[in-house]
């Protein structure tokens, strides 16, 4: 009996070790094959993206794969990873070898650039390095039972708010900038324009109502869909995509909000190492083309192509007071001033949490 059990155990051990080893070998030979490949064998593009545009990429990637095959006769395989923008940016800096990165905000690409992985001027193109736009908006329950129409309503007692964590999520940073900017610009009742102290108090009042801070924008909105909270501050495109997928809640656009500009960049160090530069650059070019921009627009994103933006204007209502990151002096100024250790948001959060 005991001998039989021993035989059984050792058999399990042998099988598991060999299967694990075989698996390892198989993947090694596969990757070895890639690097020594000729031009007609498949190439791979690793896409490191933020969480929100995944449905758009799900439709765009197959179209590009077909285009590339007809143009070059080569198959291109995609490996995709979707994390919160900040988390994705840090993963790439730590060694995740993405060929193309599509993030929520410029500062997250700048981090990769400063790590020495992007060596070209990625903003030197007609869209200034951006691939899509959006705005910060609210998702509220069907029929807006809590009457949340603008920023000021978020500070009302008893309103439960979802917004992601700015430490990991780019969308969360846009949310804070939109809220604080709207207050500074005089679009919040009771907060005089350009009154930093009053704007800070308003930020604190809203943060007090925040019940959940998720890792990424997508997680935040799906938690809202599961019944948490009264309002989710989020990308306009998150709400539009959810509505396309049959989720039943309302989109509210505040009078004043920030224009979200999402960058895309080829990562030089990785495409050169993988030999995937040609395909990766063609992919980015494709994403900026008119057909691709139309697909982005169908997935709730505002187009960076003026012609497409004009053609889809009826789906994307204008905002009374639309400002950009330039209002805060660009990301290099906004990041420390708002999110740094002594930044406005950091101080407000510490203050709210200590109470």
């Amino acid at each position: 009996m005991s001998r039989r059990t021993l035989v059984l155990l050792s058999a399990i051990l042998v099988v598991s070790i060999s299967s694990a080893a075989c698996g390892g070998n198989a993947s090694q030979t596969a990757s070895g094959g890639d690097s020594t490949a000729g031009p007609t064998s498949p190439t791979t593009i690793i896409l490191g993206a933020y969480t929100t545009p995944r449905e758009a990429y799900g439709q765009l990637i197959p179209i590009f794969q077909q285009q590339w095959r007809t143009q070059t006769g080569q198959d291109v395989i995609f490996e995709e990873s979707y994390l919160g923008s900040g988390a994705q940016s840090r993963a790439i800096v730590e060694g995740f070898e993405a060929d193309v990165t599509a993030l929520s905000l410029e500062a997250d690409v700048t981090r990769i650039q400063q790590a020495g992985l992007i060596t070209h001027d990625w903003q030197d193109n007609p869209t200034n390095g951006m691939v899509s736009d959006s705005i910060v908006a609210f998702a509220v329950r069907k029929g807006n039972p809590k009457g949340i129409d603008d920023w000021a309503d978020l500070a009302k007692p008893g309103v439960q708010i979802l917004t992601p964590n700015p430490k990991t999520s780019g969308g969360a940073m846009w949310n804070v900038l939109a809220l604080y900017g709207a207050a500074l610009r005089g679009y919040v009742e009771g907060v005089p324009a350009n009154d930093e102290a009053a704007a800070l108090d308003f930020l604190k009042a809203v943060l007090k109502n925040v019940t959940v801070m998720d890792k990424g924008a997508r997680e935040s909105i799906t938690n809202f869909e599961k019944g948490v909270g009264d309002v989710a501050i989020t990308y306009e495109n998150e709400v539009l995509v959810a509505q396309m997928q049959g989720e039943d809640y309302d989109l509210i656009i505040p009078r004043s909000t920030i224009l979200i500009e999402n960058p895309i960049a080829v990562i030089d160090a990785h495409v050169d190492k993988h030999g995937s530069r040609a395909a990766a650059e063609a992919f980015v070019q494709f994403l900026l083309s008119r057909p691709a921009q139309e697909i982005f627009a169908r997935h709730g994103l505002r187009s960076v192509d003026p012609a497409v933006a004009q053609a889809t204007a009826d789906q994307y209502p204008p905002v009374e007071d639309l400002f950009t990151i330039a209002y805060f002096g660009g990301w290099h100024a906004a990041t420390p001033a708002i999110f740094g250790d002594d930044g406005v948001f950091t101080r407000a959060l510490v203050d709210v949490q200590s109470k």
Binding site: T5, L13, S16, A20, I46, E80, L83, A91, V93, G95
Partner: protein, 289 residues
Amino acid sequence: MTLQPGRLGKTPRERWPRPVDWRRRWLRRALVTVVLLYVGILIVAPIAGLVAGALAQGLGPVLATFRDPQVQKAFGLTLRISLLVVAIQAVFGTAVAWMLVRDDFRGKKFINGLIDLPFAVSPVVVGYMLLLLFGRQGLFAPVLQTLDMRVAFAVPGMALATLFVTLPFMIRELVPILQAFGVQQEQAAATLGASGWTTFRRITLPALRWGFIYGVTLTLARALGEFGAVLVIGGGIQGRTETATLYIYRALDERQYVAAYSAALALGLFSLLLVLGTELLRRREESRQ
């Protein structure tokens, strides 16, 4: 086999003493109700919810989930990492447990304490610790670069992370058994002329059998379910470093709820069968003796 140690080591089932008065009977009923409610709310209800969620649109979408090559890859990767980790822990766990009980060396207490560390550290932190070592700016980065080896954002890093979080299980199963078993039988074997290896193979190992099996079961179950550490060190690259748990997380993000629930159910059922199978094996052996 004279000794039957193990976590479910049993004394003959004790019968509740004859009820002395009605109060005791009520107390007992109340306690049983509390236990049933506790287990029901904590374990049965979530599993039932998962089953309901997976079958919300019938069996078709559930089966379609497992035909998806990305799902198959994710489960395949989970299985590969888990089996590798179990194999390593089986060998080294046994060795470490044996050293801790049978040997005396400087720093033994320190090692003994360190082994429980993975219980205390959050898996996400484990992932970041490994990134600090194996990341692009990590301590070992120059070595890895010259060898052209990839650990972070690749399978070896994920296996390392899983090894870390599963370290205590094997050892903590084996140490008490080795202590209870004592050295007399081993010494007896030695006086009869058995070599060290023969003694280990014929005396020690059979005594360890059940601890070994439970250790393997727990290690495997833990490895299958690991999430935070493999997410941080692996990056969740679809089709490459996406394990079953990471696939479930992604499917939820993509609002593919049936796929997420189906995959979660499959993973849960596998672990359940594993534990039940071990228990069944043990019952059979007990009844045979």
